[in-house]
Amino acid sequence: MPLKQAITGAEAIAYAMKQINPDVVAAYPITPQTPVVEYFAKYVADGVVDTEMIPVESEHSAMSSVVGAAAAGARSFTATASVGLALMHEIVFIAASLRLPIVMAVANRALSGPINIHCDHSDAMAERDSGWIQLWAENAQEAYDFSVMAYRIAEHPDVRLPVMVNFDGFIISHGVEVVETLDDEVVKNFVGKPIRMNQLLDTSHPVTYGPLDLYDYYFEHKRSQIEAMKYVPRVFKQVAEEFAKISGRKYDLVDEFMVDNAEYIMVALGSTAGTIKHTIKELRAEGKKVGLVKPWVFRPFIKSEYQRILNARKGVVVLDRAASFGAEAPLYEAVKSALYEVAVRPQMGSYVYGLGGRDITPDQIKQAFEDAFKGNLIADEERYLGLRE
């Protein structure tokens, strides 16, 4: 029987990992990911799981040891946030290039300068080119569900790529919500035994990981990695379908909310989608035809989804909780580039909000929609919600 628990997003993820009982966990504490590690450490200390936990001395070593463990054949997990993710940046790329099925939970928090511990998406955005699959949760339930699904995607023989489960720092990590967790047995059967390949511990098939490529092979290796991403949509949908059967919750590459006859559609990642959905219901009651597209899978970025849904709409407004200095905001840039090829291009507007944990309110969201209703959208202009001018 699924159990409804009032828990934080961090506890939900730790709970999922408890049920999965991975072989190795290596993590370094950083606000606001710390509770994930703390809850899991308690499970280990109490013998609730028999995972081997490595109390590493930095995030760089957390990712390095998880790479070593996964290469040895162990199902491995780590978690981090913000500057911790930035510190492991070098190894994040290496993990994907070695095609290791690692799962990492990231409690999205602003990157430093100045140091800020609150929610924004700059940390994961800085890793968008890393080759990791990126899933984005809107709430603690989705954070739990993606954690349960992650190894099935990562370890699939057609994929073999690491998966990053993004969940908003403090908002999801520390906010208490009602989460429906599945039975231990159900999760165990769904996730199944690890699919181990090219194990270092298999001394009868010695393998060399991480060779030196000169200019004669690097390009081909990267092309091969590019190809792997192309299998993710099919595998994700397969896993999501199976997951729907055991949970009743259906996931897809994007979450479409009231898009059917929407004239104006907002695109946003993460927990803000919850506030947007609430705002959309209010606007709909006023007769406005509005909807939301929320990417569940941000990497790979499947252009065809956005082309299919956003074609011929009157206006598309993209909200970004991260900026790219000197260029367009990351989600906006991706959506806009996808819409280059649609038959009827909608008007587009870019809104950066919520940096460093700045709150985003329904009124501010309505403000963005108002711009769209008035036809006051300038595709090349970046606007800001909630900023003091």
Binding site: D23, V24, A26, D50, T51, E52, I54, P55, V56, E57, S58, H60, S61, S64, S65, V66, V67, G68, A69, A70, A71, A72, G73, A74, S76, E90, I91, I94, Q199, L200, L201, D202, T203, P206, V207, T208, Y209, G210, P211, L212, D213, L214, Y217, H221
Partner: protein
């Protein structure tokens, strides 16, 4: 007891000890011998080695795609994290063993090789963390006293007066001004560890220490003197001669520290003057023509003398008194 050359030849005459021929290290490089001595000992004792290497001469020359000179499992991750990577491999071993996925009679030996660059400098954090956590692995630093793979840049392990590209001997500065970092004692002070200096000039001592490391219930750190014939500017065939001279001039004392107990494993009476060691290598030649050359040589002589006496004193003071 370690096997001598005859016994080793009997065992390995027809098989590669983890590393094969066809690697691209310079002719006369000491690093392949450091690796071979370590792996031959492990394999002879019935262990199956799993090797990690930091970026550097060894890693780059043995794994140029599509060739690998390793016939044991090998992983290269990045420059500064071989200790963290092997921590992960060793932990995976314990996890999978516990879950019945591995043959419990199989003895694995986890080796992490790093150059002095990837160990003394950028790799110090991950090495210290791995040793503090107590993983059962053997870290071997092949100390060639500089970033040699990239053309002789100065590292924390470079000796004073040595000419390197980033601390060259010039009109104003005499090459590297700092003395060599004493990483061996830094690692010894992690306490729950077996630490030793080794040299290819004394193979029996080398292999005995590897045997000890294999049996030690915890992490081991082995500092192997590894002459770079290229950038120390000596002839290709000099690796063993320079290694011998380093021991005889007290430059590279052979000692071990086991949980805080010091033992000088090779006592040197009638040591040779350090100036002999310095004059034998071309990397010190630019410094020798400077007016302060004598001062630099004297400082080094003082240091090696004092260090040797200190080691003997530590041996006395810590005899039978392990700290852990």
């Amino acid at each position: 007891m370690p096997l001598n050359a005859i016994e080793l030849a009997k065992l390995f005459h027809d098989k590669n000890p983890g590393m094969t021929q066809g690697h691209r290290m310079c002719p006369g490089c000491a690093a392949p011998n450091v690796v071979r001595f370590a792996l031959m000992t492990a394999i002879a004792k019935g262990y199956e080695p799993i090797v990690g290497s930091a970026t550097g001469c060894l890693e780059v020359s043995t794994t140029i795609y599509p060739y690998t000179a390793w016939n044991v499992p090998f992983i290269h991750n990045a420059f500064e994290n071989v200790a963290a990577t092997i921590s992960g491999v060793e932990t995976a071993y314990r996890a999978l063993l516990k879950r019945g996925e591995l043959d419990k009679d199989k003895k694995y030996a986890f080796f992490a090789f790093g150059g002095d660059g990837g160990t003394y400098d950028i790799g110090l954090q991950s090495l210290s963390g791995a040793v503090e956590r107590g993983h059962k692995f053997i870290y071997i630093v092949y100390d060639n006293e500089g970033y040699m793979n990239t053309g002789n840049q100065r590292s924390g392990a470079t000796p004073t007066g040595s000419d390197t590209t980033t601390a060259p001997v010039g009109k104003r500065l005499p090459g590297k001004v700092q003395l060599k970092k004493n990483l061996v004692d830094i690692m010894a002070f992690h306490e729950n560890v077996y630490v030793a200096t080794v040299s290819i000039a004394d193979p029996m001592d080398f292999m005995k220490k590897i045997e000890k490391a294999l049996e030690f219930d915890g992490p081991s750190f082995i500092a192997a003197y590894s002459p770079c014939v290229r950038f120390w500017r000596v002839a290709d065939n000099q690796a063993v001669d320079i290694s011998k001279l380093a021991i005889e001039t007290l430059y590279w004392p052979l000692y071990e520290v086991e949980r805080g107990v010091y033992r000088v494993t090779k006592k040197v009476s009638n040591s040779k003057p350090i100036v002999e060691y310095i004059k034998a290598q071309g990397r010190f030649k630019p410094m020798l023509s400077r007016p302060d050359a004598e001062e630099i040589i004297n400082e080094l002589q003082e240091y090696v003398n004092r260090r040797y006496e200190r080691l003997l004193a530590l041996e006395e003071a810590t005899k039978d008194k392990p700290i852990r």
